[in-house]
């Protein structure tokens, strides 16, 4: 599904990614771990198409299509979803209206009619229930005054609504207490299928107790320095990152 070959990226002449190779197949969950400043969030942003970064070498393919020339919204229309570490507050636009706009823009781009209001409502209800989201919450302004946990839950709610092929969850566990973490993890697990894939970006092993990865990769100084199975995460938890440098 996702194929990253020798990816180099920089921002304002500062090299951040220095040759990443990653292959994620449909139905798989990959975790990318690493210390602060190793390039984890940059990798997530580059896959989603953030224009502040310049890809100087290498390629990102989604289902064999090169993403290089595609704008962030076009990547979203092709099924890429990025859950933000720090979701943005948008006053005056409710959660419901925002997600309706996002879904209908994607449908429009894919040659589909707008989702009928009734179906939209049904879907919103269903997904809100999945993530234990109160209906009142949906008519609040997007992320405005939300707690850290509410913001992250709302990110996963949007993921559930958009039904992406590739979901990249950037530090979704940060700022969550254990109950919120369980709800979020449970939501992600329920959304997993043989047709989609998840990339978890995390600093700690904690999240991986609830969303069990098929593969774990360690990122250090812009490169993947070690890959392994889920047991690698436990090893990192015990030994820290220093032994890999």
């Amino acid at each position: 599904m996702l194929e990253i070959n020798n990816l180099h990226a920089k921002i304002e002449d500062k090299d951040i990614l220095k040759g990443i190779n990653l292959n994620v197949k449909a139905g798989e969950v990959h975790a990318i771990m690493g210390p602060n400043g190793s390039g984890k969030s940059t990798l997530a942003s580059v896959i989603a198409g953030r224009e502040d970064y310049e890809v100087s070498e290498g390629s990102i393919l989604l289902n064999n299509e090169d993403l290089e020339e595609l704008a962030p919204e076009e990547r979203a229309h092709k099924g890429v979803f990025l859950s933000f570490q720090y979701p943005i507050e948008i006053p005056g636009v409710t959660v419901t209206n925002f997600i309706k706009t996002a879904i209908n823009e994607s449908r429009k781009a894919n040659g589909l009619d707008e989702l009928p209001a009734k179906e939209m409502l049904q879907k919103i209800r269903e997904k809100a229930e999945l993530l234990d989201i109160d209906r009142k919450f949906l008519s609040r302004s997007l992320n405005e005054g939300f707690s850290g946990g509410e913001k992250k839950r709302n990110e996963i709610f949007q993921m559930a609504m958009l039904e992406p092929k590739l979901s990249i969850l950037d530090e979704t566990d940060s700022g969550l207490d254990i109950d919120a973490l369980k709800v979020v993890a449970n939501g992600v697990n329920k959304l997993k299928s043989q047709d989609n894939a998840v990339v978890l970006i995390t600093h700690y092993q904690r999240l991986l107790e609830y969303i069990v990865p098929d593969y774990v990769h360690v990122l250090h100084d812009g490169k993947i320095v070690k890959s392994g199975g889920k047991e690698l995460a436990l090893e990192l938890e015990a030994k820290g990152y220093d032994w890999l440098k």
Binding site: S45, A48, G49, R50, E51, D52, A71, P72, E73, R75, A76, H77, V80, F81, L82, F84, Y86, P87, I88, I90, P91, G92, V93, N97, F98, K100, T101, A102, I103, N104, E105, S106, A109, Q158, L162
Partner: protein, 440 residues
Amino acid sequence: MELKEKLVASFLAFENKVSVDTDSNVHDIRSNAFDHFEQHGFPSKKDEEWKYTSLKSILKHDYNVFPEGESAIEFATVKKYFLHEIDSYKIVFIDGVYSSFLSETSHDGYDICLLSAALKQPKYKTVVDHFFNTIAAKKSSITSLNTAFSKEGAYIHIPKSTVVPKPIQIIHFSTGNEAELLLQPRNLIVVGENSHVQIIERHQSLSGNVVLTNSVTEIFANKNSIIDYYKIQNDEKSASLIDNTYVQQKQHSHVSVNTFSFGGNLTRNNLEFFQEGEYIDSTLNGISIIGDKQLVDNHTLVMHKHPNCESHELYKGIYFDKSTGVFNGKVIVEKEAQKTNAFQQNNNILIDDGATINAKPQLEIFADDVKCSHGCTIGQLDSDALFYMRSRGIPKKEANGLLLYAFANDALEKIKIPELKTRITKLIAKKLGVDLGFDL
């Protein structure tokens, strides 16, 4: 002939024509104002208060200063300029002349009518003598010009303990029958103790012909009264507006003036609040969204003279193309005005490289136990927010529009008439060139 000379030459003829009650002091008020204007003329950029706004280009026209012709307009053609979704009182003028056909006035329990009538008829004399031209600036030559030629506009007098059940719309249309037209409406609004009124004011040109409106409004809010005032400035690009509004508030009164500036050539708002009592709340809100070479200048003044009062000022500006914004917000807290809470916020977004904003907060605080704050920001759209929305599949243009809408939103939240809020929201969406894709 220069516009000033033309106006000076017309004054005597004007004074002879308007019938004045000999007992009234209005004649003296006009004459004094005329002398002041003749002496000082139009303000120039040398004047500190007009440093960023030049009137030069709009004064060069050969304006007809006394339009006489009564024009009729079909309601259907101008319906869209009214807030027609709800029932309202209407005071409508066409080329400066009252249109009884389009208006809906009242003398039932309160007076919602014409200034010309109030100036002529003896029964209004007490109110007119007590209030007329008492708070309009004596040192502003542009206000003096209006005063000198004042004869028509809205007259609203709400006695005490009265809630006016529906909003009042004051609309000035210009038809384009005159190639170049100068309008000088004059409004007098007096609201009694414990009374409540909502007013919407609009100046609308119906053609591409040049119009200059120099409007003066005096608003008096008595004890415990509530006034919500909305100004919709979305005129043609050939129309300019100098809007001078003066508000006097007595104790425990709440007055808000909301100014939505989305169009016109040059728009200058002089908005001044004078607090004459304790526990007064004054609110000044504004949203400006302009492009091309348009200019919107908001000059505000809040005079805190007594203890325990508040003022809340929030102006948002979005500037496209080569447009110019000016914000000059003066807050004066006099020595006696202890426990004042005065908040001022001015946020601007410059979309294009050619757009300009001149922002100048001025706080003069002479009391020592007060809470005053001011903040002024000038920026571009937040790139993190833009990326966030695009990563959810919302295209750049729509994402931009949504973000700008979100930026203006807190000033929009203050609108207390739901139908008007919907209207303004739609106007903003249109102005930002986006279909927000949902009902707001």
